[in-house]
């Protein structure tokens, strides 16, 4: 009796867990769609901006701008690691943390001072626990990153770069390859690489534009916005990846739960049968003794 009751209780508890993971899987699925849409929505902005930049770079000898300038001394690196606020998303955060640590190690060997910033509660907890000094912590980025969030981060980065407080800025984030596939990558955000500012080469470059007030001024206004857009993109990709990773993890959990329930049900039936058999043999045995 005791054994069957115990198995039954386990089945019930696993079933509860399954319900939770199923729901989370579904919620994450819906959120992936939303965040993918958001990436789509920002695409026109990004491509149009690239176009203008490409046009501009044929006018302006761009080397002068402090954001394009490569610092002579490469002594300090700023690393921004983007993790999530919530867990239960498989290896999402672990991947980022591991990648960040390998970068920190690499930069340390190159004798560079490292300034580390982390977005997302999970990463912040980890790096604090490991005893790292964090320059800034960003936790307000939720399921729908706002352009303002990106602005805040970008403004800080650019200020430090222009003041020569850092010589290189890297962002580590989960690149959203597809719903099933997200991988951590590092992205060199500052100095702005020249080929990038120049955009795709095949694009027709027109040479009869009027620039208001002047090409230089337009470029100077544009470059900071370009950096902000890049940061915004990484945030959005990271959020989309988070939901993707969570859905994969939750799907695996639900599938495991189903399998476990199947096995336990079988054990339960066996135990029940064994019990009945035993009871019958006891009755038969008892009847036999009475003869």
């Amino acid at each position: 009796m005791a054994r069957t009751r115990e198995i039954k209780r386990r089945i019930k508890s696993i079933d509860n867990t399954k319900q939770i993971t199923r729901t989370m899987e579904m919620v994450a699925g819906a959120k992936i769609r939303k965040s993918q849409e958001r990436i789509e929505n920002s695409r026109p902005y990004t491509t149009k901006m690239m176009e203008v930049l490409a046009n501009l770079s044929s006018y302006v000898k761009a080397g002068k701008h402090p954001l394009l300038e490569v610092h002579e001394k490469q002594e300090r690196v700023y690393v921004l690691s983007i993790t999530s606020n919530r867990g239960l998303c498989g290896a999402f955060n672990t991947n980022i943390i591991r990648k960040t640590e390998s970068i920190l190690e690499r930069e340390k060997q190159a004798d560079r001072e490292i300034l580390l910033s982390v977005a997302g509660q999970k990463g912040i907890n980890y790096f604090k626990y490991c005893g790292y000094e964090l320059l800034s912590e960003y936790t307000e980025i939720g399921d729908s990153p706002k352009f303002e969030d990106a602005r805040e981060i970008a403004a800080k980065i650019m200020e430090m770069y222009i003041n020569h407080e850092v010589d290189k800025v890297l962002i580590v984030f989960n690149h959203f390859k597809s719903v099933m596939d997200q991988r951590p990558i590092e992205y060199n955000i500052l100095p702005i690489e020249k080929d990038m500012a120049e955009g795709e080469k095949e694009r027709v470059i027109r040479d009869d534009y009027i620039f208001e007030p002047s090409p230089e001024k337009v470029l100077y206004e544009l470059l900071p916005t370009y950096v902000e857009t890049l940061v915004y993109r990484t945030l959005m990709e990271s959020v989309a990846s988070e939901h993707g990773a969570r859905r994969t993890a939750m799907k695996a959990a639900s599938d495991n739960a189903v399998e476990m329930i199947g096995q336990l049900t079988m054990t339960f039936n066996r135990a029940r049968q064994a019990q009945i058999t035993q009871e019958i043999s006891e009755i038969v045995g008892g009847a036999e003794a009475l003869k």
């Binding site: 026109p44 149009k48 009027i210 620039f211 208001e212 007030p213 544009l222």
Partner: protein, 137 residues
């Protein structure tokens, strides 16, 4: 394209705010307003904080509050890329007024302490801009 209308797109990083044919675009350039009519020469201009007007028809205008961005004019197309844009009808006046009060206070405090209040100044400008445009409807 016809020579009476020009295709206009207003794009922010978060969404495409407006897309359609208009008769005229008036945008807040850094050195005064820039008006674009159909068949305008190709141009790129930086925009400041201000009001973007789209003339849809003789008696119909759309007012949009924008902060920082730029306008790109091609033969038959005007693309306006801005960091922030809101239709006059969408503006939350209460929030804008609160923002105005807050930033005014911040500036006063910073002045007292002799601190830099550049950022607050910009925020104040944005809030005032939004209040002004919300009254357009």
């Amino acid at each position: 394209m016809s020579d009476k209308y020009v295709t206009c797109e207003v794009v922010t990083p978060e969404r495409v705010l407006y897309s359609g044919n208009v008769k005229m675009v008036v945008a807040p350039g850094l050195e005064g307003e820039v008006g674009i009519l159909p068949l305008h020469a190709p141009m790129v201009a930086v925009l400041g904080v201000g009001e973007l007007r789209l003339k849809l028809d003789e008696d119909k205008q759309e007012y949009i509050a924008i902060h920082k961005g730029y306008i790109q004019v091609l033969e038959d197309k005007v693309i306006i890329l801005v960091n922030f844009a809101e239709f006059a009808s969408e503006i939350d006046i209460k929030r804008a007024k609160e923002a105005k009060e807050r930033t005014t206070k911040e500036i006063a405090e910073a002045q007292k302490k002799g601190e830099d209040y550049y950022k607050a100044q910009i925020d104040l400008e944005k809030a005032e801009n939004r209040i002004r445009i919300s009254k357009r409807i």
